[in-house]
């Protein structure tokens, strides 16, 4: 394979005017990290692998389950039956799709301790997470280290994406200065999600990543893209950097310094973890109970909302904390919190 003559494999892509043989070679020598390998992550990982991006890091701490298969395109029934970690299953799938790609799976929570290392090793980062807190953390690390990243989110038929070029475009915190309060936002696990929404967001994210990797900054998406596939809305919100942005203007990396992140603590003598939001808040327990009623049977009182997911029981309290019983693994508890309470 030379830069002049990409292999037959990529000929249709290299034929595209903005890529060409040189662009294809840049993809081959380029690298990307996909943080979170659920629906969105597995779609972008597949596109990156098929298009010949040379090195791909896949980060996820979760395991494949049957309910993932409707939209998480890299996984199959055997992965779910064996409960393979998503990062490992994704790496195995990538090797089957394109043996030329070096894929590095990382079975881990993304935390202030490891995020800088993860993003520093790649040319571009693609968001496949399911919560705001991790996105703020990725945003902090990418802005600090000058690594571009592409936000993506999908709930129901609604999708969103935004390309963040540190120092040039607004960062994620310019656009979303504060995290929505836990329990106030729908999540895929309370409102559902269409596979088509995910694929549409992944398509935007992959295209933006490829623009960055081939060096075409001119055509990058200039703002926040939002659409609703069901009601046919489509809009692009252009905005400028927030003059007071704590992250990209003031360079205070509050999530990286773990000042505002939620806290998980194991409870003395119990197979249980308490997850607390990083700040004071008052949760509407009644509304929380109604939202979770779509998931399964919910017990509600003036003091708490309780429901069971598989072998875990979640009890949510008025200050936004939750006690997750049935695990002593903090990352399992945090994942369940993000899914059902939401951050």
């Amino acid at each position: 394979m030379s830069a002049e003559r990409p292999s037959e494999r990529y000929s249709r892509q290299a034929m595209f005017w903005a890529i060409g043989p040189a662009g294809q070679e840049r993809l081959r020598t380029g690298s990307a990290a996909v943080i979170g390998c659920g629906a969105l992550g597995s779609a972008t990982v597949e596109l990156l692998a098929r298009s010949g991006v040379g090195r791909i890091t896949v980060v996820d701490r979760d395991f494949v389950e049957l309910s993932n298969l409707q939209r998480q395109v890299l996984f199959d029934e055997a992965d779910a039956a064996a409960g393979v970690p998503k990062a490992i299953a994704a790496a195995q799938a990538v090797k089957r799709i394109n043996s030329e790609v070096a894929v590095q799976p990382l079975v881990a929570d993304v935390t202030p301790d490891n995020v800088e290392h993860i993003v520093s090793e790649v040319d571009v980062v693609l968001d496949g997470t399911d919560n705001f807190e991790t996105r703020y953390l990725v945003n902090d690390a990418c802005v600090k280290l000058g690594v571009p990243w592409i936000y993506g989110g999908a709930i129901g038929a609604t999708g969103m994406s935004m390309t963040i070029r540190p120092g040039e475009s607004p960062c994620f915190r310019c656009m979303f200065p504060v995290s929505p309060e836990p329990g106030t936002m729908a999540t895929c696990d309370t409102a559902g999600v269409l596979a088509s929404t995910v694929v549409a967001v992944a398509a935007i994210q992959w295209t933006e990543a490829v623009k960055i990797l081939v060096g075409d900054r001119e055509h990058l998406n200039p703002g926040l893209v939002g659409f609703d596939l069901w009601s046919n809305d489509h809009l692009v919100t252009k905005s400028s950097r927030a003059p007071e942005c704590p992250c990209c203007v003031q360079k205070r990396f509050e999530y990286l310094e773990a000042q505002v992140t939620s806290r998980a603590a194991s409870l003395c003598g119990r197979n249980a973890i308490q997850v607390s939001p990083g700040h004071d808040l008052k949760l509407d327990l009644a509304a929380m109970g109604r939202r979770l009623a779509s998931v399964g049977p919910v017990t509600s009182s003036d003091f708490l909302v309780r429901f069971t997911v598989g072998k875990h029981e979640l009890t949510i309290f008025a200050d936004g904390r939750a006690i997750v019983k049935g695990t002593s693994d903090k990352s399992v508890a945090r994942t369940l919190y993000a899914r059902y309470v939401g951050t």
């Binding site: 249980a272 308490q274 003091f303 008025a318 200050d319 006690i323």
Partner: protein, 382 residues
């Protein structure tokens, strides 16, 4: 917030503690005993003064017999590992905190015989049971808590020490829950070793505590190193407190502890004890009126310190603790309290209890509001 977790660490601290720490850091934070300059002397003075205050607090004639430690756990480890050798026998109780239970389990693996005297379901120790355990074989040490950190039950330390001595054993008291809360006098009570935290009843900052070692007891130091004295000697000095204080001590915390002790002495340990006994009586009386609520312990304020363990029908302790905090702003500690053996004794293993521990700054109103909250939870079980 109503803070009922004083058995874990006291809060708030007297304002003088923060002031003393701040002043010390700004003006006196040299290395004590390492040099003759102004800052080294200032630090030396702060450490010596706190040591003298501790000695006077516990009836110790020679302050040098008190060595500083990070906390009661470190002091207990120093006492147990420093004294016991393979072949020794130690008698302890079934209500101990892990700070005593775990080192003894580790020592048992190394050939120390450990006999555990069972306490009653209210946490009380029967002295006849202790006497029988002592008669069962020659014993090097009796190691026990002064009061259960779960139920608050006070053990008969003075009588137990006398029994230990009658059988040729030394006596180690874990005063984690009682230092600063009950009067303790090492001579009058016959204590050979006394381990205490600085950050609970003594109202000092965390990272402080100490170990009193009677003049006739020699401990092998857990650590060897610089002591600032007798640097020419190749071996660890044997004189107290340097024998047990290698490396720079927590001068900042110790300066804070000194201010806490001055506050405590001014207010009077006896008065603090009376205040906490009144709070405990008020709390227990109110708890007894709540349907479905069980008190795990003596339920008698004259037989315990201000640490009350409860369970409530229909509530898991862990959820009850979270509701008290999230809906009522009351800070308690649910669970096993680092004392699984104590919970087995009380019959509350493995689910544990909710522990309410008022302190010297808790008011009657705090207790009443807590009782009102618990009344609200009773019957709202889930």
């Amino acid at each position: 917030m109503i803070y009922l977790d004083n058995a874990a660490t006291s809060f708030p601290k007297p304002p003088a503690v923060a002031e003393a720490i701040s002043t010390f850091l700004a003006t006196g934070a040299g290395n004590p005993g390492r040099s003759g300059h102004r800052l080294a002397l200032a630090a030396q003075r702060a450490v010596s003064e706190t040591r003298r205050l501790l000695a006077s607090c516990f009836g110790v004639a020679d302050p040098a017999r008190v060595a500083f430690a990070l906390n009661a756990t470190e002091a207990l480890n120093q006492a147990l590992w420093g004294l016991l050798r393979p072949g020794d026998r130690v008698v302890t109780t079934s209500i101990e905190h892990n700070a005593v239970a775990r080192p003894l389990n580790a020592l048992a693996d190394r050939g120390v015989a450990v006999a555990r005297v069972p306490c009653g379901p209210d946490g009380a120790l029967d002295l006849d049971d202790l006497a029988r355990a002592l008669e069962a074989g020659p014993t090097r040490l009796v190691a026990m808590t002064h009061a259960s950190n779960v139920s608050g039950t006070v053990l008969p330390a003075r009588d137990a020490a006398r029994l230990a001595h009658d059988h040729g054993a030394l006596f180690l008291l874990d005063a984690a829950q009682t230092a600063g809360v009950l009067p303790i006098d090492v001579r009058e009570m016959g204590l050979d070793l006394l381990a205490f935290p600085g950050h609970k009843g003594l109202l000092g900052p965390t990272g402080t505590g100490g170990l009193y070692v009677a003049p006739h007891v020699r401990l092998a130091p857990m650590r060897q190193g610089g002591t600032g004295t007798r640097s020419e000697e190749e071996r660890q000095p044997e004189h107290m407190p340097e024998a047990l204080e290698s490396g720079t001590v927590n001068t900042v915390g110790i300066a804070g502890l000194g201010a806490a002790l001055r506050y405590l002495m001014e207010r009077g340990v006896v008065n603090v004890a009376a205040h906490e006994a009144a709070l405990t009586a008020r709390l227990l009386a109110g708890l007894k009126e709540i349907p479905g609520l069980r008190i795990h312990g003596t339920a008698d304020h004259r037989r315990q310190v201000a640490s009350v363990s409860i369970t409530l029908e229909g509530w898991e302790p862990v959820d009850m603790g979270a509701v008290l905090d999230s809906s009522f702003g009351i800070a308690v500690r649910p669970g096993l309290h680092c004392a699984p053996a104590a919970h087995r004794t009380l019959g509350t293993y493995p689910q544990g209890t909710v522990r309410l521990s008022p302190g010297c700054f808790t008011s009657d109103e705090d207790v009443d509001r807590t009782l009102a909250a618990l009344r609200g939870l009773a019957g709202a079980g889930n």
